[in-house]
Point group: C2
Chain length 303, copies 2
C-alpha cells in the first residue's frame, strides 16, 4: 500500500489540485506515446545496424579466395551473418513490444475518457465551492455595508420610515449572508468528499500507469539482454573458430589445394640410338617426352 501522497498534497488555498492532478493523468498519454516512439527508434537503429552487418558479411565473402589466409574469410562471413541475425531478432522482438505499447496507449485513452466522466461531479464540486466562496464574500460585504448604512442613518436622525426601510435591507442582507454561509458549508463538505475520492482515484491511475510503463521497460530490457547474450555467444564461437584455425592447418590446406606435385625432376641419361630398333618401328622415340620436359608454355616469370 502506497502512501496517499495525492490525497495529502493537492489541497491549498489556490484550490487547483484537481486541475494539476487531471493534467498529470493526461500527461500519462504523452509518456506512453513517447515510450513507444523511443522503442521504435531503437528498433530502427538495430535494423540499420543489422543491415550494415549483412553488408559486412558480404564484404567478407567477396574477399580473395586465393592465398593461405583465404579460408579465414569464411569464419568472418559466418560470424558476421550471425551477428546481423541477432540484431534482426531484437528488431522483431521490439516490434512485438511496440504493438503491446500501442494497445496500452489505446486502452489508456479509453480509461482516461471514462475517468473524465467519473470525476465530472468532482469538477462540479470544485466549481461550486469556487462560486459559493465568491458569493459568500460579496454577501458578507453587502451585509456589512447595509448595517453601517443603517447606523449612519440612525446617527444622522433619519425618519422612522427611512430607518424601517434600511432595517428591512439589513434583514435581507443578513439572510442572504447566512444562506451563503450555509451553502458554503455544504459546498465545502461536498468538495472535500469528492476531492478525497478523486485524489485517491488519480493516484491509483498513476500507480497503474507507472506499473504498466515499468512492465514495458522490463520487456524491453529483457529483449536487449537476450540479444546481448546471443551476441556474446556468436563472439565466443568466432574466437573458438579462430583458435581452431591454426597456422599449420592453413599451410596444409594451401599445400593440398594448390600443390603442384610431390615428384622432383628425375635424372636423364644419354641414350644411345639403337638403329635397328629405331628403323623397325616408325621412329618410336619421337613424341615420347623426356622424364622432365619443359613444354615451353610454363615459362616462370615473376610479375
Amino acid at each position: 500500500m502506497i502512501t496517499p501522497y495525492f490525497l495529502e498534497n493537492f489541497w491549498g488555498d489556490k484550490n487547483n489540485g484537481f486541475d494539476v492532478l487531471y493534467h498529470n493523468m493526461k500527461h500519462g498519454q504523452i509518456s506512453s506515446k513517447e515510450l513507444s516512439d523511443f522503442i521504435r527508434e531503437r528498433a530502427t537503429i538495430e535494423e540499420a545496424y543489422s543491415r550494415s552487418m549483412t553488408k559486412l558479411a558480404k564484404t567478407a565473402s567477396n574477399c580473395s579466395q586465393l592465398g593461405t589466409f583465404a579460408p579465414v574469410w569464411d569464419v568472418f562471413k559466418q560470424s558476421t551473418e550471425k551477428l546481423a541475425a541477432c540484431h534482426m531478432e531484437l528488431v522483431r522482438k521490439l516490434q512485438e513490444l511496440i504493438k503491446e505499447v500501442q494497445k496500452y496507449v489505446e486502452e489508456q485513452a479509453k480509461n482516461h475518457k471514462k475517468t473524465k466522466e467519473e470525476v465530472a461531479s468532482t469538477l462540479e464540486a470544485v466549481q461550486n465551492i469556487q462560486s459559493v466562496s465568491q458569493a459568500l464574500q460579496k454577501s458578507k460585504e453587502n451585509y456589512v455595508n447595509k448595517t453601517l448604512e443603517q447606523e449612519r442613518m440612525r446617527k444622522e436622525g433619519a425618519t422612522q420610515r427611512d430607518l424601517d426601510k434600511a432595517g428591512l435591507k439589513v434583514k435581507k442582507a443578513t439572510e442572504t449572508y447566512k444562506s451563503y454561509v450555509e451553502k458554503y458549508a455544504n459546498a465545502k463538505t461536498e468538495f472535500e468528499q469528492r476531492m478525497t475520492e478523486t485524489a485517491q482515484k488519480f493516484q491509483g491511475i498513476e500507480e497503474e500507469h507507472v506499473l504498466r510503463m515499468q512492465e514495458i521497460i522490463h520487456s524491453y530490457c529483457q529483449s536487449v539482454e537476450e540479444t546481448h547474450i546471443q551476441i556474446g555467444e556468436v563472439q565466443e564461437e568466432f574466437v573458438k573458430n579462430m583458435e581452431n584455425t591454426s597456422v599449420e592447418s592453413l599451410i596444409q590446406k594451401l599445400a593440398e589445394s594448390k600443390g603442384t606435385g610431390k615428384e622432383r625432376p628425375g635424372p636423364i641419361e644419354f641414350e644411345e640410338c639403337n638403329v635397328s630398333i629405331a628403323t623397325e618401328g616408325a621412329n618410336p622415340e619421337k613424341g615420347k617426352p623426356l622424364p622432365y620436359q619443359a613444354d615451353g608454355e610454363i615459362k616462370t616469370q615473376i610479375p
Copy 2:
C-alpha cells in the same frame, strides 16, 4: 615446428611450384589489405550506431518533463548516452588497430620486395631447367635424326665422302646431346637445391603472415569483447536504476514538485457586524479575504 608442406608439395612435372608459391605470397598483401578494409567497415558501422544512439539519447531528453513518468526519461537518456560512448570507444580502438594493420601492410610489401630479390636465383634456376630440358629434348631428337640419316645413306650406298660428312654430323650431334645431358644434370641439382631453400622460405613467410593476421584478429576480438562487457554493464546499471525507480518514489516526487498545498478549505461562520468597531476604523473588514476565497481567476476547467 610445422611440417614442411611447401617443400613436399610444390614439385611435379609441370614445374610451376615456384610460380604458385610466389603468387601465394603476393596474395598475402591482398589479404592484409582486405583485413584492414574489413575492420574499417566495422568501425564505420559502429560509428554510425554510436551516432544513432546519441540521437536516441537526445530523443529521451526531449521527452515530456511533465507527468509522473517524466523522471524516468533521465535514466533512459543517461544509459543511451553511455551505450553511444561504448560503441565510440570501440571505434577508437578499431582505428588504432587499422593503423597497426597499415603498418603491417607496408612492412609486408617491403619484405616481399626483399624476398623477390632473394629468390631471383631460384627463378633463374627454374628458367634454366626449363630451357635446358627443352634444348636437351631437341638435341636428342637431332642426334637420333642424324644417326638415322647416316644409316639410311649407308643402306642406299652413298659415297664415302658423303658418309664421312654424315658421320661428322652424327659426332657433332652426339657431343651436343651429351653436353645437354650434363647441363641438365647441373640444372637439376641447382634447381632442387634452390627450390628446397625457397619452398622453405615461402612457407616461413606464410607462417609469419598468418601469425600476424591472427594477432590482428586477436586484437580485434579483444576490442569487440571489451565493448561487449561494457555494454553489459551499462545495461545492468539501467536495469538497476529502473528497479530503484519505484512507483511510490515517482508518485511522491510528483506530489512534492506539483503539490498545491496540504490545507483543506477552512470553516466559515457567520460574523455579526460589530458597528462600534466597524465605524471606529476605516471599514477594517474591507480587503480582508475570507479564509477560503475564490479569486475568480482559478476557474477549474477540464480541457
